[in-house]
């Protein structure tokens, strides 16, 4: 591989890594607080992309209802991002309220909540398929694609936006979790579930906040993803969701840094495997590396093995 295609692949890997990282965040945030693997998260990403599609086409005036003024595509893009993030956060919170909270209140085992999450994901996928049909939809071009070429390496402005958004989100979340009061509460809950409510911390509010953060990041990833690859289908979230989950585990689930590093590591592995070997080997080698890695260091890159009390 010459240096030129190396940098080309590097940028592609950064973009894929950003998607994985943004979705992996949702897994890791919820896991950090609730010790729950929210298997429906990949489908929240899909729901985010669909909501983004409907918001964008609505704002562009594709339906019977027209907005009084014509918005420029860039304004539409920003508005779509914001509205989609809010609406998808609503979906995430609803899921928590309807499916997870009743189980938590009853003190059901973790496994039951995990199964509920898995089933909720299936409902979102297949409900979408049943209601909207199997036809693929094309996301409208909101950002005018500009292709830059530096030293033979080409990249679009969408890729830059994706990578910058992922980095921005990383710093934002690190700040929220490390510096603010609610972030402190989130860390406290993951540290001791029993003592925290006794200290007067509203545990439900913190959990809802966690779901808002995770779901809106998934929505962000969804809209950015369909901006880069403008095809929507009901099962788009399944594969990328599982992979993002793997990224979260590789990084050490429950750690925000871990989700980011894991996402980028997975992105790099996948893109470079596809660059060297036939692209059908991508999953095989990526998952093989994962298996090897987890056999050697089962807690992930940043994970800390918890001492088990006897």
């Amino acid at each position: 591989m010459d240096i030129q295609s190396f940098f080309q692949n590097l940028i592609n890997a950064m973009q894929w890594g950003s998607f994985y990282a943004l979705i992996a965040l949702g897994y890791t945030l919820v896991y950090g607080v609730l010790l729950l693997i929210n298997f429906a998260h990949g489908d929240i990403f899909m729901v985010g992309a669909y909501i983004g599609f409907f918001v964008a086409t609505f704002l562009l005036g594709s339906y019977a209802f027209h907005l009084p003024m014509i918005l420029s595509p860039n304004v539409v893009f920003v508005l779509t991002l914001l509205i989609t993030m809010i609406l998808t956060a609503g979906v995430g919170v609803t899921l928590e309220r309807v499916a997870y909270r009743p189980l938590r209140r009853r003190g059901a085992g973790r496994l039951y909540i995990v199964i509920t999450a898995l089933m909720a994901g299936l409902i979102l996928e297949n409900g979408n398929l049943a209601l909207l049909g199997a036809s693929r939809r094309a996301f409208p071009d909101l950002i005018e694609k500009v292709v830059y070429t530096i030293g033979g390496v080409t990249f679009t402005n969408v890729k830059i936006i994706v990578i910058l958004a992922a980095l921005g989100v990383f710093f934002l979340l690190e700040t929220i979790v490390r510096k603010t009061k609610i972030g402190m509460a989130m860390r406290a809950i993951s540290y001791d579930r029993v003592a925290v409510p006794l200290m007067g911390i509203p545990i439900d509010t913190v959990i809802v906040f966690t779901f808002i953060l995770g779901s809106s990041m998934a929505a962000l990833a969804g809209v950015l993803f369909v901006s880069a690859y403008p095809v929507l289908e009901p099962y788009m979230g399944a594969m990328i969701g599982w992979k993002a989950f793997i990224a979260a585990v590789v990084g050490g689930i429950g750690e925000i840094r871990g989700a980011f590093i894991g996402g980028f590591v997975l992105g790099f592995i996948e893109i470079f495997v596809a660059a060297v070997f036939p692209s059908t080997f991508r999953d095989l080698i990526a998952f093989g590396i994962l298996l090897l890695f987890l056999s050697i260091k089962p807690t992930g890159i940043f994970g800390v093995a918890r001492a088990q009390k006897i």
């Binding site: 009853r106 199964i115 089933m119 909720a120 299936l122 585990v249 999953d283 298996l291 987890l294 089962p298």
Partner: protein, 339 residues
Amino acid sequence: MQRHLALMLYIAICGLIVFLVKAEWINAYIQIVIMFIGINIMLSSSLNLVNGYMGEFSCGHAGFMAVGAYVTSILNMWFFTKGNLFGDALFSPSLSVILFPVTLLIGGACAALIGLLVAIPSFKTRGDYLAIITLAVNYIIKSAIENIQTIGGARGFMGMRKVVNAMSDTVPLPWLMIWILVFTGLTVVVLHRFVSSTFGKGVVAVRDDEIAAEIMSVNTQRMKLIAFMLSSGLAGIAGGLFAHVLGYINPGSFTIMKSTEIMVMVYLGGMGSLSGSVMSAILFTVLMEFLRPLQLFKWVLIPLLLIILMMFRPEGIMGHRELPDMFPKLRRLFPSREV
């Protein structure tokens, strides 16, 4: 006589089914449903050993099924049919009656060996991380099959129907149905004997408290190894039968979706309840057939049912109990389960 009452009852039911099929009193559709019930019983009760009795969260059961399905199909095609892949048949097709169960067992053995991929990491990891490993193994198997072009790759592998026909041409009996009934019975008996033996109680001990089990001289590593290999081996046999019922397999049949389906059956029936797994496999298969007119909404309704079940009866239909625990009179039928 009393000891083998349950076995005799099962043989009588199987005999009745085979007779009905032979006399063509039940149509092909119901035959297929019965075959799928058998296969699903094998799958759900074998997964129950790991997910229920051992308390792990294995979500890649379809992967082992795929290994069994492919190995068995390839062996059968190689042995008994003339194709452009393997050339002439190795044995005369009439031998297929005898050798078919052997190929099934070889398929199961290969699946059990692949089960080592999960069993060995399980010595160090538990819970969520092990769940990922099972998931990864499922993807690896599927992706590996997709990349072997000689067995069809992503296009799939077909022709198993010829083997089934060769069997019934030799001796005119519904052989596939017979083998499914035999292996279903065998699976349930093996698992029942295993988990109610003194040795097999170690599996439950690992679930309840691994460290305490280790202190009480349970060899936890060996226990995990056996549980994973037994479970994946039985899934492999089920996969081999599945391939021959359909006559066509492709890697897309063995995805996470299929694994999820098996998990649904396990949790519907109740973790750590063999009779629950059997019942839920029957219930689930019949339910799927009844809901067929709903088409896509079927896959909305079934998860919804499971969510409601998790809310109101999270332990599944049976919980940790077996049928004789609920109806003590049945204990006569299952005398081996002494408390």
